[in-house]
Symmetry: C2
Subunit: 432 residues, 2 copies
């Protein structure tokens, strides 16, 4: 990890370096992804199974593409029952938090006969993508399915790539079943996104696709956006710790490493007003790395995208943090709630020295699917909002329209839209 003094210039350089991790920079895979999507749209299942053979080396057909109840039962036999217990405890917290996000339809009315409102409706069909391969994250399955379930989505359709034996990872299946997936299909990569976006003979077309994935999945989601909806495009994980001299350097170091271990492109940043803390954290990081199982990934991540930034004041630190807009932010200062009030841009904010970031990944309840790569400036955590949509409601009585019909006609006429004006005027023709 580099230690750098925080200035306007260093902030700018860091922001530029961090943006190198963006999926927007991987244009070279776009052609391949478009070809896959086009083939799925044209040929459906045939193309899907051919890609599954090619990329996952699995023989999938109409007969075995959908995970059966029997396969789910088998999965429970191989997963540690203690993990199933933890998943269930975690699910209670995740459900409780997301229940609070539910929005109601509303209306207002007036006695002269107008009613305006907003109707909230859950999406009908949602696709949840779950990556396969070596990195299997049942926690991510919970985080993607629960908000859809709480929103009231009719059909939650999960896809995940099979192994060469045609089987899906058992903890993925257990997590999906516990969270409430309605249907699970064996498909991965851009071809799975294509199947969910366009539908095939086996896999239903959905209204929205969520869930993390590799660069092919991310580009495929971007390509089908508009045809269906998607969640925000996930980038490599990030943590930013704001700390003063009251922070425990050992805790801070451990938390920085928890995100660095995700990915060589992950970023861990400490911004502190204390040079002493900076030095101690740097030492603790070096100590910890030696004994962590993913030390090579961690080292590459820290070398490329790890920073310890020295700030003059906490306000300067917060300003830089707002510019970076990290996925995860920890505030470990004497007055963490006051600092939090000044934070504009962060996916999730962890307050105080016992609110370690992985607590949020697994257990506390808020969603761990968060905006990355500076997009916390405009995107939100995955939530129930992602699985509902709204319709405006307008009712005017004859009396109410009559009072203002001339205004509407004039506005329409000013835009030269005579058929618009006519549609109002026709209701009062011959009256004046």
């Amino acid at each position: 990890m580099r230690t750098v003094t925080l200035t306007k210039e260093t902030t700018k350089d860091i922001l530029e370096n961090l943006l190198k991790r963006s999926p927007n920079q991987y244009g070279s895979y776009e052609t391949a992804v478009r070809e896959i999507l086009a083939k799925i749209q044209e040929e459906g299942d045939g193309a899907l199974f051919a890609y599954t053979k090619k990329f996952d080396r699995a023989e999938i057909t109409e007969q075995n593409v959908r995970v059966t109840d029997e396969e789910i039962r088998e999965a429970y036999e191989t997963v540690d029952p203690a993990l199933v217990d933890v998943i269930r405890k975690s699910l209670v917290n995740i459900r409780n938090y997301h229940e609070k996000q539910k929005q109601n339809s509303w209306f207002t009315s007036s006695e002269d006969g107008t009613m305006l409102g907003q109707k909230v409706t859950p999406l009908e069909k949602v696709g949840v993508y779950v990556p396969g391969g070596k990195a299997v994250y049942p926690s991510s399955v919970l985080m993607n399915i629960v908000p859809a379930k709480v929103a009231g989505v009719d059909r939650i359709i999960m896809t995940t790539p099979p192994g060469p034996d045609g089987k899906v990872n058992p903890s993925t299946l257990v997590a999906a079943n516990e969270a409430g997936a309605d249907e699970i299909y064996k498909a991965g990569g851009a071809q799975a996104i294509g199947a969910l976006a366009y539908g095939t003979q086996s896999i239903p077309k959905v209204d929205k696709i969520v869930g993390p994935g590799n660069i092919f999945v991310a580009l495929a989601k971007k390509a089908v956006y508009g045809h269906v909806s998607i969640d925000s495009i996930a980038g490599p994980s990030e943590i930013l710790v704001l700390a003063d001299d009251s922070a425990n350097p050992r805790f801070v170091a451990a938390d920085l490493l928890s995100q660095a271990e995700h990915d060589e492109l992950a970023s861990a940043i400490l911004i502190t007003t204390s040079r002493e803390l900076a030095e101690k954290v740097s030492c603790e990081v070096d100590e910890f790395v030696k004994r962590l199982s993913r030390k090579e990934i961690i080292q590459k991540s820290l070398d490329q995208f790890g920073y310890i930034l020295l700030a003059e004041t906490m306000d300067q630190a917060v300003e830089a943090a707002n510019a970076i807009a990290s996925e995860h932010m920890e505030i470990v200062t004497r007055n963490p709630f006051e600092v939090m009030m000044k934070v504009r841009n962060a996916g999730a904010i962890f307050i105080g020295e016992y609110s370690s970031e992985p607590l949020g990944d697994y257990f506390a309840g808020p969603n761990h699917v968060l905006p990355t790569n500076g997009t916390a400036k405009f995107f939100s955590p995955l939530s129930v909002d992602d699985f509902i949509k709204k319709s405006s409601i307008v009712y005017y009585s004859r009396e109410a329209l009559k009072k203002i019909h001339k205004d509407v006609e004039q506005f329409a006429a000013s835009e030269q839209l005579t058929a618009h004006a006519n549609s109002i005027a026709v209701r009062f023709e011959g009256e004046e």
Copy 2:
């Protein structure tokens, strides 16, 4: 307008025909748009002004790219004061409606020392694109700016193409000023979207871009999505009227035409259980078209994408309407509120025979920027939600973490993320 009996097959054919209007089908312009965006990103103002010269035939420089207070004053001198009055009345309604959409931050806490919450923050900088040329829609300026203003966005930055004289349409300027735009720049097309997404010397980079535009603008917005946020991609306008034999055929015909006049690609659909109404509406449409100023556009729109659909029952009509997911829906039946309850997919729903759709375009208050082309299945009207984002808040006390730390460690360990587990364990090391 064709009259067709509603069946599963005819619904499928109609959906396919309507989707032909989607911007997803215009891949051929993508290369041109990408080239423009890349040039703007590399060269900034220089490229922007060169494109403005090429496409808008206007000489724009750093000196005159931003609209001055003097230009706004001049605009007020040329706009009909009666229109300014209507704009102000309309603004009151639009603001009142959008105020009701505001969401609060919230938190929950427990006595053992956990606090969870969701913090709502307005976006800092938003770009509003306003088309120029012959079709000037001050109503659209209001609808795009007001929700951003109500959300509390710091800087609302508008761009609109100049005419060859380097001036911006006066009603656009008046509407922007009344609604509360903070800065207005003379730039249009894909180059304006590039300027807002990447920033140039003159135009600030924004967090989100909203506003309608031609195919170049739509493709540019799609291309920069992820780098900045965008509103949903607007397609041609649509109206779908659900009516029974109680409806006034003259009103229905006038309302169908109000959307058909927007664009040759616009779509106007009546679904009715009454053959008599169908016939009468068809006659009224033919009558009205003759005397409307935009009759050529209307005729093309009706020929290509206009339908009168005969349904056996209102339930069948609603089912088809949900499959079409129209931008605007009118319900003109004996029991319109009951029918509304069955509607899942529509951008805005107008209830009863005096709630003519153009009332919503100009005056009632709900936003007229609505999901088109079937996207009402998953997108919502433009709203205050588009101009805020959320951050999760997590606080755990030492006691609260201690109670559950083994669970979190086990979950992390099951995912082979040892640094995650370590970050929790380190807080209790040597205790057990």
